[in-house]
């Protein structure tokens, strides 16, 4: 049941991401930031789950697969999805508010997963989750600033 619910949510996230109106990212930007976000998220869970046992993923196949989908599809897509809004925000205050809202959403989703039994936080507090998401979002913004500029310059050079 949990697996089916999360499957629907993940598919909805993918559809919403590609159908969402507004400023769009280049296809290679989406791919790169999605990979980068996924890398950060999976390492976060891998270290906390395998090494420090601060997050315990449910042993049952359904919840484990649901968590796999979340960390490879939904969570990285949310991270990528916020980037155009961050870039479009004019002031530093607005940019900070966008990142804080997104980190809040991702923190809420992680603790919702705890509540429905996909994973269990053992000594890993909510503020630490929020801090991780803020850092992950900050690093993805930094990735866009460096890689994104290089990519756009190269792509424009290749246009004919």
């Amino acid at each position: 049941m949990i697996l089916v619910c999360y499957l629907i949510v993940n598919i909805a996230c993918v559809l919403a991401f590609f159908a969402w109106p507004g400023k769009r990212l280049h296809a290679l930007e989406i791919l790169t930031y999605w990979l980068f976000g996924s890398l950060l998220i999976q390492n976060y869970y891998a270290f906390l789950h395998i090494n420090f046992k601060l997050i315990v993923i449910n042993e049952a196949l359904g919840p484990a697969l649901a968590h796999f989908m979340n960390r490879t599809v939904m969570q990285p897509l949310i991270v990528v999805g916020v980037l155009p809004y961050y870039a479009a925000s004019g002031t530093i205050g607005r940019k900070a508010a966008v990142l804080a809202c997104c980190a809040g959403l991702l923190t809420g989703l992680e603790w919702l997963a705890d509540w429905v039994g996909i994973l269990e936080h053992k000594g890993w507090d909510g503020w630490l989750t929020a801090a991780f998401w803020l850092v992950a979002l900050g690093l993805t913004v930094l990735c866009r600033r460096t890689f994104g500029r290089k990519l756009i310059r190269e792509v424009k050079r290749n246009e004919f």
Binding site: L28, T32, L39, A46, F47, I50, V56, N58, E154, V155
Partner: protein
């Protein structure tokens, strides 16, 4: 963590340095953006599969000689897989492989990958707790085809306009 530096860590270090050196001759062959994305893709792909099979509920193998996610494993992930991907794509692009030639090329790489995985098992880079070397055999052709698909996607979009 129960991290101890012994032979398998030295093996991982030497082979990873060797991989980085092996990348140097082809470092300028591809577009830097393509190199960057392929490198990232290979890293994420292998980490995703490893975390899926190493973590709950499967726990089919683990890296190195203890069950924790060791820094040396991260080093291997960051170097060896990505460099192998770049060399694979170098041959694919340079010789414009299609059809039977591509099939044989993937077969040769699968043979090399399985042989290298076996050497890794002997040197305790990988410890199987349910996985078998035989299970790895079909994963390499699938990964090769996926890598080619991603490479072609990147190549195509390198020329698509920025909106």
């Amino acid at each position: 963590m129960n991290f101890k530096w012994d032979w398998n860590e030295w093996f991982m270090l030497f082979t990873s340095i060797g991989s980085v050196l092996a990348f140097l001759p082809i470092r300028r062959y591809f577009h830097p953006v393509l190199t960057c994305i392929i490198w990232l893709f290979s890293l994420v792909y292998v980490e995703t599969i490893d975390f899926f099979l190493v973590g709950s509920p499967f726990q089919l193998y683990y890296f190195s000689d203890n069950e924790t996610y060791e820094p040396s494993a991260v080093f291997v992930h960051m170097t060896q897989y990505s460099v192998s991907s770049m060399w694979f794509l170098y041959g694919y692009h340079k010789w414009q492989l299609r059809g039977m030639k591509l099939f044989l090329y993937i077969l040769a790489w699968t043979g090399f990958a399985v042989l290298y995985e076996w050497i890794c098992i002997l040197n305790k880079v990988l410890t199987f707790t349910g996985w078998k070397l035989l299970y790895s055999v079909p994963t390499y052709p699938v990964s090769s085809l996926l890598l080619i698909a991603v490479y072609r996607l990147i190549y195509k979009h390198l020329r698509s306009p920025v909106r």
